[in-house]
């Protein structure tokens, strides 16, 4: 096994706490549910389908897990039109063509001494399997993940952006950790990778896929957790400022907006405020930096009127 694995130690509770601590060690602060999902993924050898609003750390979880387990992260970004050739493998055509050229030239030498058609064919058959073999295979992310000797963390990002056909094609991989290449046969995983799939729910993921996955929904973090995240990501920011900005963001999420600010935006904002050497939130400061939190002009205009009261409330927050 690997140098670092998820400890299957004494009690499940201890193991899950260990996972959480391990993730925290890489700077990824999470609650019980996320740690449980990682633990279960390892125990059941099942992929994890992560859903949730954008920017809550779905992709980041894969990064953190890879770092924690000290395994390579192989990432595949999905998009419309993604096909096997880009996701799985491709033949190295150039090399194959060259090979045929070489073969042609050497054919005379090879055939020397062979008399009659039968003998020549027999001689030739000794070579035929070399053409479609792993030498000429160009591995793409999925195949790479299976080939990884020490196991890997495979991240299939934004699966909802890919076509339905592609989703169906993933099923074999996700169920048995193997893929079929017609010319070679099935390739099995050398070591079962930990697979994360993320989805922003732009379309409904098929039942077949969901059935094969552990389903993890990451919501926006609560105040306490978000403060801890900021503390870990922007350690230089002082505590009172952190409390204020987190409670401001939490307040913001209760308002009807086109796009709610996510954790990644809170972190960006914290960094900005740190850069500006802000000591305390005030309306002017918030107004001038609001475009980091809100990405729609409509949203910014909409909350402008409430800015003063919201800021005051955030400053007063404990």
């Amino acid at each position: 096994m690997n140098t670092k694995t998820i400890a299957m130690g004494d009690t499940p509770r201890a193991a899950i706490d260990a996972v959480r601590a391990g993730l925290a060690g890489t700077g990824y602060i999470c609650g019980d549910s996320i740690a449980t999902a990682v633990y279960l993924a390892k125990c059941l050898d099942k992929p994890v389908l992560i859903e949730g609003p954008p920017g809550v750390g779905k992709t980041e979880l894969a990064n953190a897990t890879a770092e924690y387990l000290d395994k390579p992260l192989i990432r595949m970004q999905c998009y419309e039109g993604l096909d096997e050739a880009k996701a799985l493998y491709e033949w190295k055509y150039g090399k194959q063509l060259l090979y045929t050229q070489v073969l042609k030239e050497k054919l005379g030498d090879l055939m020397q001494g062979a008399t009659g058609l039968q003998a020549s064919m027999d001689r030739l058959h000794e070579f035929d399997d070399t053409f479609f073999n792993e030498e000429f295979l160009e591995p793409r992310p999925l195949l790479k993940a299976l080939w990884e000797e020490e196991g890997a963390v495979l991240l299939i990002d934004e699966i909802d952006k890919s076509d339905q056909e592609f989703e169906a094609f993933l099923l074999e991989l996700l169920q048995d950790y193997q893929i079929s290449i017609p010319e070679i046969g099935t390739v099995k995983a050398k070591q079962i990778p930990i697979v994360f799939l993320t989805s922003n729910n732009t379309r409904e993921i098929g039942d077949a896929l969901k059935r094969r996955c552990i389903h993890l929904h990451i919501p926006f973090p609560d105040t306490h957790l978000e403060q801890k995240i900021i503390e870990s990501r922007v350690p230089d920011l002082d505590a009172s400022m952190r409390r204020q900005l987190v409670s401001f963001v939490q307040e913001l999420r209760t308002i009807e907006l086109k796009k709610l600010p996510a954790v990644s935006e809170t972190i960006d904002w914290a960094r900005t405020l740190l850069l500006l050497h802000a000591q305390e939130l005030d309306t002017e400061l918030v107004r001038s930096t609001l475009n980091i939190l809100l990405k729609f002009q409509d949203d910014i205009e909409n909350i402008d009127a409430e800015l003063v009261s919201m800021t005051r409330k955030a400053i007063g927050a404990r």
Partner: protein, 455 residues
């Protein structure tokens, strides 16, 4: 363990969380990994393995709490240290039975022993009832009418007859006491059966209502069912999306896919033997939907709009219009507001007037004619009653000439068409298809047809 889990999964299914067999196996594996030791952990793990969407997670959480209710877990925690690692079948299983008893007795002991039944204290009574309930197979209960039967069965197993004999034979004082005992017992059994009924049939009433509502004419659905209807229509829309979101591909001749061709022909030593042509994906159809919200269709209008709203969610390129005497585009409204807000707003603003199809179709022509092409399907929802005014046939025909087709869906039954001020006969000459659309079922069928034959 397996019995607890499978009963729990049955209860989950009853609350409309879909659980497949493979997921049950996963759940068992997750249970092995996590154990019964920690309630929070157990809930979280099972939820991740069994509930696969946010909705389902909510229902799961409710069902979990009902099934493993708190007092139950406290008993389990007491047992936990001994078994959290091992997870052997029987112990935790029985301890967690949905009835809320930690039982030390094995199966089958619930029956018989009428003498003890007479002086058992409450906890013992509950345990006996729980065991008898399991023996009677109460978890199979499906309808509230089965309550009596199951109660009788449990009472028989538990030995009520023996108790009754005792009461008959006993002297007055003791008999009185025993009668009280019997009343308690019956009460306990009733509570037990009711709990099970609640657990396993939580969803059967909505399911039944759903089935009935699907067939009810739109105009006779009551307003209080609107919320429910909304969910129903939304479900329908989602199903349609799933069915039809697959884009159709057509092969286009004339463009060689060089990469694919070379790859395909490598086995022929690079000779171009087979050709591969580039394929083009065709987008889903464009739809223009027009909805009559006037007084004459008032009762159905709400649902027609609801349907229209769902259509805009299903098909990406939909322009929606509403009119009674004046046409207005409501595409933006539908895209930005929630179904309920959008519909009541549209009704308030455009609804309840008297119909003027002539004016409406004229407006429609001027607003959309440039957007109508051979890929456009025009959908009209209305009763075709124009108050003896101009039905706007000229404009409609102009649109018809350009559009791929016009489909008219009428919420009135066919017998009423052409009676009074209905202009369906004339209007239908400018339509490719005219259909009755009275219930959600009709809607589903029609939309499915539209989408299948589109492109």
């Amino acid at each position: 363990m397996t019995e607890v889990l499978s009963n729990f999964i049955r209860a989950l299914r009853a609350t409309d969380v879909r659980v497949s067999t493979s997921e049950s196996i996963d759940a068992a594996a997750a249970l092995d990994a996590v154990g019964f030791g920690d309630r929070g952990l157990l809930k979280e793990s099972l939820s991740q393995v069994l509930a696969k969407s946010v909705d389902e997670k909510e229902r799961f959480s409710e069902c979990f709490d009902r099934y493993f209710f708190a007092e139950d877990m406290s008993g389990v925690e007491a047992l936990a240290p001994a078994e959290s690692d091992t997870n052997e079948d029987e112990q935790p299983g029985d301890a967690q039975a949905p009835n809320g008893e930690t039982n030390g007795e094995g199966e089958g002991q619930g029956g018989g022993e009428p003498g003890e039944l007479g002086n058992a204290d409450r906890t013992e009574l509950q345990i006996a009832v729980a065991n008898a309930a399991r023996q009677a197979g109460v978890s199979n209960i499906r309808l509230f009418t089965q309550r009596g039967m199951y109660m009788r069965r449990i009472l028989e197993i538990i030995g009520i007859e023996a108790l009754e004999d005792q009461i008959r034979d006993a002297p007055d004082d003791d008999g009185q006491q025993l009668s009280e005992r019997r009343a308690q017992l019956i009460e306990e059994v009733r509570a037990q059966v009711d709990r099970q009924l609640l657990l396993y049939t939580a969803n059967s009433w909505p399911e039944l209502r759903e089935q009935i509502l699907q067939k009810t004419p739109l105009s006779s659905v009551e307003v209080r069912d609107f919320k429910f209807m909304q969910a129903l229509v939304h479900k329908l829309a989602k199903r349609l999306v799933a069915l039809h979101s697959r884009k159709k591909k057509i092969a286009r001749r004339g463009h060689l896919d060089v990469r694919q061709t070379i790859r395909r022909n490598i086995e022929y030593d690079g000779l171009l033997f087979e050709t591969v042509w580039k394929r083009k994906k065709i987008d889903r159809p464009k739809v223009i939907a027009v909805c009559d919200v006037s007084g004459s269709v008032a009762t159905a209008a709400r649902f027609l709009l609801l349907f229209l709203y769902s259509v805009t969610e299903v098909i990406p390129k939909v322009r929606a219009f509403a009119f009674s005497n004046q046409l207005a585009e409501i595409t933006d409204l539908f895209q930005n507001a929630s179904a309920e807000d959008a519909i009541s707003f549209a009704l308030e603003k455009y609804g309840w007037g008297s119909t003027d199809y002539g004016r409406a179709f004229e407006d429609l022509e001027s607003m959309v004619i440039d957007d109508v092409d051979h890929r456009t399907t025009v959908l009209v929802l209305g009763d075709g009653r124009s108050n003896y005014g101009d039905p706007g046939l000229v404009s409609l025909r102009k649109i018809h000439d350009r559009a791929r087709r016009i489909i008219w869906l009428n919420p009135e039954p066919k017998a009423f068409w052409n009676s009074g001020d209905s202009e369906m006969r004339r209007l239908s000459t400018a339509c490719d298809r005219v259909d009755v659309c009275r219930s959600v079922q009709d809607l589903e069928r029609l939309v499915s047809e539209i989408m299948r034959t589109a492109v």
